[in-house]
C-alpha cells in the first residue's frame, strides 16, 4: 500500500469517526434543542485549542449483537484544551452514538483523561449526556462507572472537577457529577435522578413529571445538587469559563491574580456609612449589595444562587486576588442558619480550603431556624458541619461582623474561636447570646411578671439589655474581635489583611483524616 493510500485511508476513517453517530443522529440532537459533544467542546475551549485523544478507541463487547456494532469513539470525546490560555482536560459524552451509553471502552477513555488531569495537575471538565449504562455490556458497564467514581474521589481536592449535565444523567451515572466540585445544569436539558418517573410510578405509585422530579431548577433550588443554573447551554459555557478564572489549576497553586482590580462601582458606605444598614434591627436588606460594595468591581460570582438563599456563597476579588465569600442573607429567613444553609456553606468552605482560596465571612444572623422540621431533619448534625469546616480550614479566614451575631450562630460564622485570622466588627455589630427581646424575657422574667405594668417593665429591661450587650464592645474588650471599623473602611482593611495572610501549617496531630459529621 502506498503512502498516499494509507493517508487517504486514515483521513476517511477519521472523518467518519468525527461525525459521531452520523448525520441523521446529529440532526436529531440539534432538533431536540441540544448541541452535540464536539460543538460543546468548541464553545467551552479557546478557539483551535482542542487536542483530541482516543478517537480510534473501539469496544470489544460480543454479546447481544455488539460484535457487529461500530461505535465512533465508543460514544465519548476526550482530550485537552485551553480556557483563557490555561490548560484543562475534558470529556464529552456523545449522545449521537448509542445514546451516549457507557460501556467498558467508553469508561476507559474517561478514566484515562481523569488520570491525565491528575498527573498534569489541571482542571477536569466533564460533559454528561448519556442514556446510562450500556445494558448489552452488563457488569462491564458497572465496572466502568465504579472506576470513574473511584477516580473522582482520588482527584477530589487535587484538581477542580466540574460537571455539566447536558442531557439525561440517571441512575448510577449521576454519582460521578455528585462527587465533583461543581455541577452545572441547563433549563429543560438537564435531567438527574436515581430512579425515574416510570419506576417511581410503578413501584411507589407517586406521579411526577421528569422535569419536576430531576430537572434543572429542581436541582438548583430544591435538592442542592446543582451549583449553577443556566437558561441555555451557551450561558452555561460562559459560567464555566468565568468560574475557572477564580480557581488555581490544582491544589499546589495559588488562585490566579487578576490584572483587572478596579474598586467597586458603588463603594460601601460612601459617602455615608450610616446608609449601609437599616436602623431597625428587625428590618432586612440584601447582603449581595454589601458584597458588591466591598469586592473589586464586577468580581462577585455567586454559587448555588437558588438553593438555601438564606446564606450567600460565591467568589469575589480583592485587589485582583480571589476570595471565597460566605454571607448570611437577612432578606431571606432573617439570615438564620438551617440544615440546607449549613450544608451549602460547609461544602463551599472545604472547596476553598482544598484550593488555597482565602475565606471572607460576612455575619448578620439571629441564630438557627426554630422548628420541629429542622430538629427532625437533623439541624444538629448538619449545623455541626459548619463548625467543622471553618475549624478545619487553614486558608486565611477573615470575618466581618456587620450586625447580629447571636449565640451558636456567632460561633459558627467563622468566629475568632474557630481560627479566624482577623475578625472585624462594624459599630452596628451585636455580638451577644441572643437578641435583647429574647434575652430580657429570660433574664428578667420574674421582674417582668411581678411588675405592676409588665409591658412597661419589659420595654425597660429590653432597652437595658440592648444598651449593655447589643454591640461589639463587650466582645472587643476580650479580644474576640480584632478591630472595630466603619463600613466604608472595610475594603481597605481586608486588602491589607489579605496581603499579610499566609496559609497556616497543619497541626502536629497524626491522623488518617478527621471524621466530619455527615
Amino acid at each position: 500500500m502506498t503512502i498516499k493510500i494509507k493517508i487517504n485511508d486514515f483521513l476517511s476513517r477519521a472523518s467518519r469517526l468525527l461525525k459521531g453517530g452520523g448525520e441523521a443522529s446529529i440532526q436529531r440532537q440539534t432538533k431536540s434543542g441540544k448541541l452535540n459533544a464536539r460543538e460543546r467542546i468548541d464553545y467551552i475551549l479557546d478557539q483551535y485549542s482542542f487536542f483530541e485523544t482516543d478517537l480510534f478507541v473501539e469496544h470489544s463487547a460480543k454479546d447481544f449483537g455488539m460484535e457487529s456494532k461500530k461505535l465512533a469513539g465508543d460514544g465519548v470525546v476526550t482530550g485537552f484544551g485551553k480556557v483563557d490560555g490555561r490548560a484543562v482536560a475534558v470529556f464529552a459524552q456523545d449522545f449521537t452514538v448509542a445514546g451516549g451509553s457507557l460501556g467498558k471502552a467508553h469508561a476507559g477513555k474517561i478514566v484515562k483523561i481523569m488520570d491525565s488531569a491528575g498527573d498534569m495537575g489541571i482542571p477536569l471538565i466533564g460533559i454528561n449526556d448519556s442514556g446510562g449504562a450500556r445494558i448489552q455490556e452488563g457488569v462491564d458497564s458497572l465496572c466502568g462507572y465504579g472506576d470513574i467514581f473511584f477516580r473522582n474521589t482520588q482527584l477530589s481536592g487535587v484538581v477542580p472537577q466540574i460537571s455539566l449535565i447536558l442531557g439525561p444523567c440517571a441512575g448510577g451515572a449521576v454519582y460521578s457529577p455528585a462527587l465533583t466540585d461543581f455541577v452545572f445544569v441547563v433549563d429543560r436539558i438537564s435531567n438527574m435522578f436515581i430512579t425515574g418517573p416510570q419506576v417511581i410510578k410503578s413501584v411507589i405509585g407517586e406521579e411526577i413529571e421528569a422535569e419536576e422530579l430531576g430537572g434543572a431548577m429542581t436541582h438548583a433550588a430544591t435538592t442542592g445538587n446543582a451549583h449553577f443554573y443556566a437558561k441555555t447551554e451557551a450561558e452555561a459555557f460562559e459560567q464555566i469559563r468565568e468560574l475557572l478564572s477564580y480557581l488555581p489549576a490544582n491544589s499546589t497553586e495559588n488562585p490566579p491574580v487578576s490584572k483587572k482590580a478596579d474598586p467597586p462601582l458603588n463603594p460601601l458606605g460612601h459617602p455615608d456609612s450610616r446608609k449601609v444598614l437599616p436602623n431597625d434591627r428587625k428590618k432586612s436588606y440584601n447582603v449581595k449589595e454589601i458584597i458588591r460594595g466591598i469586592v473589586d468591581s464586577s468580581s462577585f460570582f455567586e454559587i448555588q444562587k437558588h438553593f438555601a438563599r438564606n446564606i450567600v456563597t460565591g467568589f469575589g476579588r480583592l485587589a485582583g486576588k480571589p476570595v471565597g465569600i460566605i454571607a448570611n442573607q437577612p432578606k431571606v429567613l432573617a439570615g438564620v442558619l438551617d440544615v440546607d444553609a449549613s450544608d451549602k456553606a460547609s461544602r463551599f468552605i472545604r472547596f476553598c480550603d482544598s484550593f488555597n482560596i482565602p475565606l471572607l465571612t460576612l455575619v448578620d444572623t439571629p441564630g438557627y431556624l426554630p422548628g420541629v422540621d429542622q430538629e427532625h431533619a437533623g439541624i444538629i448534625r448538619h449545623g455541626a458541619k459548619l463548625l467543622y469546616a471553618y475549624s478545619e480550614a487553614t486558608v486565611p479566614k477573615f470575618t466581618v461582623v456587620m450586625r447580629k451575631a447571636y449565640g451558636g450562630a456567632y460561633i459558627a460564622m467563622c468566629s475568632r474561636h474557630l481560627g479566624a485570622n482577623m475578625v472585624i466588627a462594624w459599630p452596628t455589630a451585636e455580638i451577644a447570646v441572643m437578641g435583647p427581646e429574647g434575652a430580657a424575657n429570660i433574664i428578667f422574667k420574674s421582674e417582668i411578671s411581678e411588675s405592676d405594668d409588665p409591658e412597661k417593665t419589659r420595654k425597660e429591661k429590653v432597652k437595658e439589655y440592648e444598651d449593655k450587650f447589643s454591640n461589639p464592645y463587650v466582645a472587643a474588650s476580650r479580644g474576640y474581635v480584632d478591630m472595630i471599623i466603619e463600613p466604608n473602611k472595610t475594603r481597605d482593611a481586608l486588602i491589607k489583611a489579605l496581603e499579610l495572610a499566609k496559609i497556616k501549617s497543619q497541626p502536629a496531630y497524626t491522623r488518617r483524616h478527621g471524621n466530619i459529621p455527615l
Partner: protein, 103 residues
C-alpha cells in the same frame, strides 16, 4: 425575588423577611405517641390483622402493606391494646400516615 412583608420569629424577635413556601409553619400539633403505627413508605393496605381492643405483643404483625412490589409485614413495636384502626383494607396510605393507635 418579589418583596414580601412576611415575618420570622426568632427568640421573641419578629424579623421582617422573606419566608420561602416550604418553610411556612403549618401550625399542626405534632405528637409522637409511642403506640402510633404509621406507614413508613406509601403503599396499599393488603390486610389488617387485628381488631379494636385486641391485646397485641411486641413483634406481632398488625398490618400487611403492599409497597416496593413486596408485601411488608408491619409489626407492633411494643405490647399493648389496639385502641383505634384508622384505615381499611384496600386503602392507599401516604408516607407517615397514622394507621393504628395502640395503648
Amino acid at each position: 425575588m418579589e418583596d414580601k412583608t412576611e415575618h420570622l420569629l426568632v427568640d421573641d424577635t419578629r424579623y421582617e423577611t422573606e419566608v420561602p413556601e416550604r418553610y411556612k409553619i403549618k401550625g399542626k400539633k405534632v405528637t409522637m405517641n409511642p403506640g402510633d403505627i404509621r406507614a413508613i413508605i406509601p403503599g396499599a393496605i393488603v390486610s389488617i390483622k387485628v381488631r379494636k381492643d385486641q391485646e397485641v405483643a411486641a413483634g406481632d404483625v398488625v398490618i400487611v402493606l403492599e409497597a416496593m412490589k413486596m408485601y411488608n409485614d408491619i409489626e407492633a413495636e411494643s405490647d399493648g391494646k389496639v385502641t383505634e384502626i384508622l384505615v381499611s383494607e384496600g386503602d392507599n396510605v401516604a408516607k407517615g400516615q397514622l394507621m393504628i393507635r395502640m395503648d
